[in-house]
Structure formats: C-alpha cells, structure tokens
C-alpha cells in the first residue's frame, strides 16, 4: 500500500498511541489524601445506619465494661471456667468443715482407730466417708 503524504500511516499512529499509553499519570500525595478522606467520610456515614455488630472495627461502638472484663479473663470460655471454679469453691467451703474437724480431732471411723501412739495416727486408714465433704450442717441449718 502506498503511503499518502497528507495522512500519517496506521503504524506511525500506533507509535504515538504507544507513547501516550506509556505515560502513567501518577496521582499526587494530596490527591490520594483527599480521595481516602472522602472514602473514610462515606464509610462513616454508611456505618451510621448499621447495627454495632455490622460496623467496621473503626466505627463500632466502644465495648461495655462487662465485655472488657470478659476480655481480660479470656472471653466467654475464661468466664465459664471462673464461674465453675467459684461454684465448686463455694461447695467445698461449705462441705469441708465436717471433714476438717473429723481429721483434726481424730474423730474418724472406729474401725480404723489405733490407740497405741500419736504417730500411729498417720498410718490410720480412713473410711472413705470420713473424707467426703458433708452438707449435713448446712442442711440442718435450713
């Protein structure tokens, strides 16, 4: 195909298009800052209509004191463990005095009593029932 003087050829035009394509319009820092500030503002307004659980961490309401305390002890798992330990501690505390007094005063089952010396006390055999916490006193108090 013959080249016309009054027209630039397709190949030459492509060279110009390539040159234009190679120019990257890098955004300025101020442009980035402005656009990201816009994005933040839009996101804040979007978050305003959402419930707390659906908000982003940045826009969600501050956690309550109860939630903060729960976080301190390791979340709901830690809380459940602490509650169990508390209940069990209370149960042992209420049930133990009978056992303690039995052991401290040597008031254990007669089948296991040895009267020879005080040293023999340590070798005495307890009946299982002597070591089990008793709630008898608590029950008696009503």
């Amino acid at each position: 195909m013959t080249q016309r003087d009054d027209l630039l050829g397709d190949a030459d035009l492509d060279v110009l298009f390539d040159a234009a394509r190679a120019e990257v319009a890098r955004p300025s820092d101020s442009f980035m800052a402005r656009v990201l500030a816009d994005a933040d503002a839009v996101q804040d307004s979007l978050g305003a209509g959402l419930p707390d659980w659906a908000k982003s961490p940045q826009t969600a309401a501050a956690p309550s004191i109860m939630n903060r305390l729960l976080d301190l002890i390791g979340g709901w798992r830690g809380g459940a463990g602490l509650a169990t330990a508390t209940v069990m501690g209370l149960a042992f505390g209420l049930g133990a005095p009978n056992t303690v007094s039995q052991v401290a005063t040597g008031n254990w089952s007669s089948a296991a009593i040895s009267t020879d010396t005080q040293m023999q006390v340590s070798t005495a055999q307890y009946v299982l029932d002597d070591l089990v916490p008793s709630f008898f006193d608590l029950a008696a108090e009503g």
């Binding site: 030459d12 394509r21 319009a25 955004p27 442009f31 656009v35 994005a39 979007l46 908000k55 982003s56």
Partner: protein
Amino acid sequence: MALDTHIDASDDALLIAFGNGDRLAARTLTERLAPRVIGYAARLLKDRAEAEDVAQDAMMRLWKIAPDWRTGEAKVTTWLYRVVTNLCTDRLRKKRGTGLDEIAEPEDGKPSQEAVLMQKQRVDALNSALSTLPERQKQAVVLRHIEGLSNPEIAQILDIGVEAVESLTARGKRALAQALAAQREILGFEDDTA
C-alpha cells in the same frame, strides 16, 4: 481482607469489601484506578489539576455507590470511565464560554535524554491533535487506542451502539492522521523503523 489478598482481588470484590466496611480496600482501589482515571481526564481536559478534581469527584461517586454494587452487572472501570466522560463533558461545555484558547497547555517536563524528549514530543503532538477532534470522536479514540478498551465497553461508556463507536474511532483516527501528517519528520518515525 488482608493486604496481600487485596492486591489479587478484583475491582468488584474490593468495591464490595469497601461497602462492607473495609477501609484498606479504598486505598487499593484508588492506587489501582486513579492513574487511569486521571490520565483519561487529563487527555480530555488538557489540564492535570482539573483532571485530579474530576478524578476525585468520580471516586467519591464510586464510594457512594459501593453498598449497592452488584457483581457482574458492570465493570468498575467501565462505570468509572463513563462517570469521568460525563464530568469532563460538563466541564468542557462550561469552558466553551471562555474559549478553547484559555485552556491550559499540559505542563512541560524536563527531559534529560533524547529518547525521553522524543517521547514527550510525540505525546504532546498527539494531545494537540486530539484536542482538534470533536468531543465524541476524541473520547472514542482515547478509550479505544490509549486506554485499550473494547468497542462494546466504549459503547456502554458513551451510551451509543457499537457501530457508532466504530464509526467514531475510524473518523477520529483519520482526522488524527491528517492533523499529524505534517509533523511526520520531527516525530522521528524513521528512527523507530531503522
């Protein structure tokens, strides 16, 4: 969404993540899309500062539409080019009252090498020739030959049929070929073919 997953994510996924409260998605999308948006607007407006204003406006519209964005209905880039095209058209219409001569010329760079100088010369020549085209021709040529979009995408952006796009780009290219023919020698095409 973690930073490394942002880099691989599609524009669609990032926009939806933004709508769901992911702030990092905004940064990734801006870094990815802003150069294209600013470059396109600068070619239409011939003013870098004004192009950044248009790009900021277009990005703002993108953030606002994020909660309603539906995957697969349109490409984010196509939607954005369309918004930028309309914003630039509005600005050019307002400017027409002040006369085209008052539109600022692109900033001159400081080329340090012959190749860089030639590159700049070619881009300036092309931009000057583009500015002589009717608005729709210019938009179609830039989107097709510089932004590299397909004819159906350009049809969506300009809100016309594919045949109309083909016609616009063909007439635009011919007009460019005429406008630039006289500068053939100074644009160094012989150097490229040698």
